[in-house]
Amino acid sequence: MPKPFSRTRGRPRFPALIRLLQNPKLGLGGGFVLLLVIIAVFAPAIAPHDPLEQDLMASALPPFWLAGADPAHLLGTDDLGRDVLSRLIFGSRVALTVAVVAGVAAGTVGSLLGLLAGYFDGWTDIAVSRLIEIWMAFPAVLLSILIVAILGSGVGTVIVAIAIIDWTRFARVIRADTMANAQADYVVAARTLGFGRWTILFREILPNVMPGLIALLAMEMGIAVVIEAILSFVGLSVSSDTPTWGSMIASGRQIIYQAWWVFAAPLAAVFATVLAFNQLGDGLRRALDPVMRR
Amino acid sequence: MSEPRLLSIEGLSAVSDRDNGAPILRDVSLAVAPGEIHGLVGESGAGKSTIARAILGMTPRTVRITQGAIILGNTELLSLDARQLRRLLGAEVALIPQDPLTALNPSRRIEAQMTDGLRMWKGHSAKSARERALTLLDEVQMREPERVMRCYPHELSGGMRQRVLIAAAFALEPKLVIADEPTTALDVTVQKQILKLIRAMQARHKTGAIFVTHDLGVVAQICDRVTLLYQGKVMEHGLTADLLLKPRHAYTKALVRATPRYDRPVDGLIPVPDAVIAACRAEIAGFDGATHG
């Protein structure tokens, strides 16, 4: 990576900020995610139409660049004449809510277990590791269908399902990372200085595990968007009167030969969102690592 | 100089592409005669490994050679393209690496790794390459060479791995061997055996060698000539005995005095005086000023 600032003299005034802007992955990924958040929050103000408003006279209108388009419906309409762009905008609300809440939930549970297993070897580690192995052997899709069957469909259920399925992803990575750090001399140094075990775990080791955790969290949010879309697609997510990308894909699939854009638009949204979260995660990992960023 | 040269480096300069073109090598010249061990000595940042890498055409992408020539026999190496260089170096220059752990492929048996070069460059059949490899393992005093040939690297100790690497380095009868800190990772008693072995192999095969090290003790015992570097510039060069016993440059003197000695606990361990470092830096700044100004 280029290094425009000499470290020895003349340190920049906002080194953290400058570093963020220098990292294109972080800029693009973060920028897109930020844009998405704004769109989701201000959806009612931004969306040109009510996403639920049907107009059978204007059904399956093509997007603006095709012949026969209506300029009032930039991305066209679906088979019920609902505005695709507005549904896309409102769909981002469910996608982002699920991504953030489920990601944080899975991240918190998984990281805590990973930290404990990685630092306290012996029975704690054996117990957590076996749990992870058993958990991962269970088919994720079946597990989520099972959870929906028990809890009933809804955004909350989707979040619970993702957290329950995906905590292992965090637990495995954080456990390995914690183990590696626990071996480092700075942990031995902290012990010789008389710091207690919890202090060492949370004040010495956690900050070193954090960059990996944050990166993983960003990527998990991308994964959560996909899972939510899949669950919506199979009709296990929220009720049909809330627009979601997954349910849009599902309904678009049925008229793919007549109006492909109804299918393509939400698919593109999912694709771009997942890509953005992944880029953000990778960018964060590089930016937050004190050694890698040199 | 009238003596025959195996390798000569003339006015080699290199810069780092990362640190705003900071110089890494500054007009380095040296010559290695056949059958001679030439020590490249210096502290970290002296550029000794960069020189070794430059000969092998393996400088990292961030290092750019700006000037100079590396002449092996009658061929200037820096003007060759990657393919020509590979063909020439494959058979004529061998490397004894620093870390015997990572220098051998962990998932291939010793036999496969030792016979590769013989079959590729010397046209050996599988059978004759195997015989040659066994002879070489015998030459490096490896016990049970037959068994070692069947081993994977992790089944051998660090000293044994280094023996395998030395045998492999001499397998193709190279004209020049480059040893890059080959004993730094080893225990002292093993280090002594390995040094002895490199000396014996080099004498038997009449090979020229470049020996990179930071240890003046090792230099004293194994090198015929020495080039001492500081920040990529030659501070002093000459016969080993002259350089260590009658150092001319203040930096050489200071380094000798800083080296701890078990036989003279009171004399050694004198830190390099700040004035000497300042003088060295001034010398380098003067040089940089003259070349860029």
Partner: protein, 275 residues
């Protein structure tokens, strides 16, 4: 002689691996070692890889529990103490590491690395006081106070090792374990660091166990030397005696294996006694 500061009796140390059910047999790394270190005494522990010197050192600090044998620090048994009861002793026994990069938390600034222990042990009552003491200790090891605001990766290797030393002496300990602390350093930096260690042990009356594979370094700064091989002590005595007239063949071969910076045409071909 007065009562030793640190003494170990018949230490046997091995590493246990956690496994399901049946416990695996443990091969000891240290096999019955006894030693004692007096106040203010600098004892070198030398040995090659596999000698158990590092394991022994960590056991002396109570970082590894021995399988059998006992360790006492200033009359208090160290082995078997839990974290809570160990804490008052912790302040009095410190450690300097081989690799200062990995022994300084990469995500903490030097200020935090130095002041946190002061506050923990209430050597300093306020952050301001801790800051002052940190700056003073830095000055003592030859570093400017500006280092306080830096992260470990922002300073040079020699400076990092000085920070490691500062951290170890900060709490004014009685005993410091130095584990291969100069093996990664250049000769000129090594000389400076060893001089500093020599001066500090004298000024502070520190006792030190100085672990190294390099006999030349041990001779330069230790009063006494313990030679280890494969988990056992093969020779022990005052440096002058051991170096001038080693009794054990192994010690002899270790000394012979050190190349001196003086050309000697017979050195390479000289026969190793214990090889």
């Amino acid at each position: 002689m007065a009562e030793p500061l640190l003494s170990a009796q018949n230490l046997v140390i091995g590493y246990r691996r956690a496994a399901f059910g049946a416990s695996q047999p443990i091969v000891p790394v240290v096999k019955g070692v006894s030693l004692s270190i007096a106040r203010g005494e600098v004892v070198g522990i030398v040995g090659e890889s596999g000698s158990g010197k590092t394991t022994l050192g960590r056991a002396l600090l109570g970082l590894i529990a021995p399988m059998s044998g006992s360790i006492a620090f200033d009359g208090t048994p160290v082995s078997g103490l839990d974290e809570q009861r160990m804490r008052p002793l912790r302040r009095r026994m410190q450690m300097i590491f081989q690799d200062p990069m990995s022994s300084l938390n990469p995500r903490h600034r030097i200020r935090r690395i130095l002041t946190a222990p002061l506050l923990l042990h209430k050597v300093a009552r306020t952050m301001r006081e801790a800051d002052q003491q940190a700056a003073m200790t830095l000055e003592r090891v030859g570093l400017p106070p500006g280092v306080l605001t830096r992260y470990p990766h922002e300073i040079s290797g020699g400076q990092r090792q000085r920070v490691g030393i500062a951290r170890a002496i900060m709490l004014k300990p009685d005993f410091v374990l130095a584990d291969e602390i100069v093996s990664g350093l250049d000769v000129s930096t090594q000389a400076q660091v060893l001089r500093l260690i020599g001066a500090l042990t004298r000024e502070m009356g520190l006792a030190m166990a100085f672990i190294s594979h390099d006999l030349s370094v041990i001779r330069a700064i230790c009063d006494r030397v313990i030679v280890m091989r494969q988990g056992e002590i093969v020779e022990e005595g005052a440096c002058d005696v051991v170096f001038d007239a080693p009794r054990a063949a192994y010690t002899r071969s270790l000394i012979d294996a050190i190349p001196l910076p003086v050309p000697d045409s017979t050195w390479l071909t000289r026969v190793d006694v214990a090889a």
